[in-house]
Amino acid sequence: MSNADDVPMMFRASVSGRCQLQYIDGNRNRDTESDIERWVSEWTIAELPSQPPTLSQHQSDDTCFSFQTIPYCITWRFVSNSGADPTIILPVIGARGFPYYPGSSMKGAFRQACNKIFPDRVVYYCGDRDSISPGILRFHGGYPTSNTWKNNLIDLAHPQQGWQVKNLDTRQKDGGAFVQISLHQPELKFGISSAIDLIGAEWQDIWQVWRVALSNGIGCRVSAGYGKSTERAESPLYKVTLNGQGVASTLLDSTPEFRPNIFRAALRGHALRIFGGLSDEDTAESLVKQLFGGIHNGTDWGLLSIGFRETKPFRWEKYGRYEMPYYEVKGELSWLLTQSVEDEKEKALKSLVNHLMQFSMLLGGFGRSWRRVDHRKFYPDEQYEKLIGCHWTWQKSLFLSNDPDDQLQAVGQVIDRVLNVAQSWMQRCQLELVHDHPAKWREAWCRDRAQVWGRVADDEGDSLAIKWFHQGYDEVLRGRKFVPTKQLKGTAVAGFTGNQDNPTRIGRLWHRMYPVTERIVRADGRQGFRQADQYLELLTFFPDTKGEDSKQLTEYLNRPKSPFTRLW
C-alpha cells in the first residue's frame, strides 16, 4: 500500500503542492523543509560506499601503463547538468547514486584543451570522425573521492541585474532565488586509459592537457567560476590578487559561503551601467551579453570567464545579534578567454577588463552589501544588529602621484579612461554611440545621472558619510552642540531593508573608502606599493530629479563649504 505523500520527490508531478524543486519560498518557515531540501535528503540519505567502485578497484593499477587516475580538487563548485528535470539543474547521477562527471564530457573538455596546447595530437588522442580513425585514449570520467560531496549541495543564485541597475523604482523586484544542485569543493578522481602502452612522459603530456582543461573549467556555468580546479590558469587575460572582508553570502541552511561569481556579477553590472550611459538599452544589453554571455534575444556564449583561487582560505565568524557571518578572504582572481579571438580583439578585451576592474575597485565592492564600506571596519564603535558593507583591497596603484590630494583629483581621469576604453570597444564592435539616448535605467552611467564626489580621509575613523548614514548631515550649532539637520537613514537616497508593506529599496549612493597607495622602490630595486593610512572617501550618487532627499543632498554637496568635491 503506497501513499502519495510518501512518494519520493523525483517521482512526483512538477507542480505546486507536489514537487517544485526550483521554487524557494522567501518567507518560508525555517521549520518546514522546502521541496529541494527533501529531494536532496532523499538522494543522500542512502548509505554509500566511500568510493565509487568503478575507479577505485583499479587503484592498485596506477602504475600500469594503460590506465591512470589522478584526483584534482575543484576550488568552488562543480555542476554538470543531467537534464533529469527540465525545471532545474541537477547533477549527472550514476550507479549507486554517485554524482559523477561523464567520460563523454571529459573527452569534449580534453579535446578543446588539446586543440590549444598540442593541436597536432588531437586526432591521435581523440580520434577523427571524417577519417573514421579512433583515438588511443578512453575517458572514464570523474568521480568524487569521498562522501564529502554530500555537503552544501543546494546552491542558490539571485539574479539582481534588473533590480540593481535598471529599475527606476526599486520597490519592484523581479525574479527571485533560483536553486540548483552543485557539488561544493569536491575532489574528483579522473580516469584515462590508453589502447596502447604509453611511456611516462607521454602520460605527463596527457595529464598536462587535462590540467589545462580543468583550469578552463569543466561542467556547466564555467563562465561564472564553476568547475575550475585549484590548478593555476596558464595564460589568463587578467590576473590580480585581492583581499576582501564583509558580509558573507549564505546558503539556504545559513551556511556561509564565498561565491566567486560575485566578481562576475559586479563587472557585468558595471559594464551594463557604462554601456547603458553610452548607448540605448538594446545595444548595452547585447554588448554585455557578448562579453559575459546571457539569454537576451537568444542565448550567447560569453567571451569571458572567471576563476578564483583562494590563497588564504575563506574564514568567517558570527557577528552581532543576528549572528551574521563576517568573512575574510584572499585570493587570485583571473579572467579567462573562453574562445580564441584575433590578437587585436584580445588586446582590446584585456584593456576593457582591466579598466572595468579598476572602476569596480575604485568605486564599489563585491558581493553582499557592495555599495557600502565595511561599517565594522570604518565605524566600529556602534554595536550593530546587522552587518553592513564590504572592503576590498589590492596591491596596485591607479595613480601616478603618491600625494593623496593628487590621487583624489585623478579619480575623474580613471573614470574617463574606463569610458574611453568602453567607447573604443563599441567602435570595434561597429556600434554607434547614441549619446542623446542613454538607457532609461536608474544607474546608467552618464553625466546628468551619475556624480562622483570625494575627499581625503586621514584614517579609518575619519569617514564622514558613514556618520551621515547614522546621525544625519548638515550640522548646525545649537547651544554648544553641533546637531544634524538632515537625515539619510531610511530615505530613498540611502536605501533600506524593508518588509512586506514597505519593500526594500536600493539606495542611490555608493560609499567607498579607497586606500591611498604609495609607490615604493623595494630593496631589490623592484617597484612595489604600500598602503598609506589615508583613504579616498568616495560617494557615487545617482540623484532622483523628483525626490526631495536627493535634492537636499545635491544642494548640500554643491555648497561652497561642502566637505566633498565633485570629481566626475
Partner: protein, 141 residues
C-alpha cells in the same frame, strides 16, 4: 482470452500527426511541441505521476502547445488502457491525481483503487507508446 490488437503504433502515429497540427495551429501559444516526445520518453522513467504532471507544468509556463501534446498523450493512454479493462484517472487537480495514481483513494464511484500491477501495466504500455512516438517523430523531423 482472444488476441486483441491495441494498435499502439497507429495511436502513436496519430499522436505525432496531432503534434504537427498543434504546431501549425496559430491559436495555441508556445513553442513547437514535435520534439517533446524525447522528453516524454525520458520522463517515463520517473513514473506515471511525473509524466501526467508535465501538462500542468507546461500550462503554468504558458507553453500551451507542449501542454496540449502531453495532455492528449495521457488521454490516449487512458483510452488504450480502458480497452484493456484498466482504469487510469484523468483529473485536473494534482493532489487528487496523485492520490488516485498511488492508490490512496478510489478511481471512481465503484470504489476500485489503482493496483500496483495495473500501475506497472500502465507504465509498460506508456513506455511502448512513447517508443513508437519517437519512431514516428524521427520520420517527420
Amino acid at each position: 482470452m482472444a488476441w486483441n490488437p491495441y494498435g499502439l503504433d497507429q495511436v502513436a502515429h496519430r499522436l505525432v500527426q496531432r503534434a504537427l497540427q498543434i504546431d501549425a495551429d496559430p491559436e495555441i501559444a508556445g513553442d513547437s511541441c514535435l520534439r517533446e516526445v524525447y522528453e516524454m520518453r525520458e520522463s517515463v522513467a520517473y513514473g506515471l505521476e511525473r509524466f501526467w504532471g508535465e501538462q500542468l507544468r507546461h500550462y503554468n509556463k504558458k507553453q500551451d502547445k507542449n501542454a496540449t501534446y502531453w495532455q492528449e498523450t495521457w488521454r490516449k493512454l487512458v483510452s488504450i488502457l480502458d480497452g484493456a479493462g484498466v482504469v487510469l484517472p484523468n483529473d485536473e487537480n494534482a493532489n487528487i491525481m496523485a492520490q488516485k495514481l498511488w492508490g490512496d483513494i478510489p478511481l471512481n464511484e465503484t470504489g476500485v483503487r489503482l493496483s500496483h500491477e495495473n500501475r506497472q501495466v500502465a507504465l509498460a504500455v506508456l513506455t511502448q507508446l512513447c517508443d513508437c512516438m519517437v519512431w514516428w517523430t524521427q520520420r517527420y523531423k
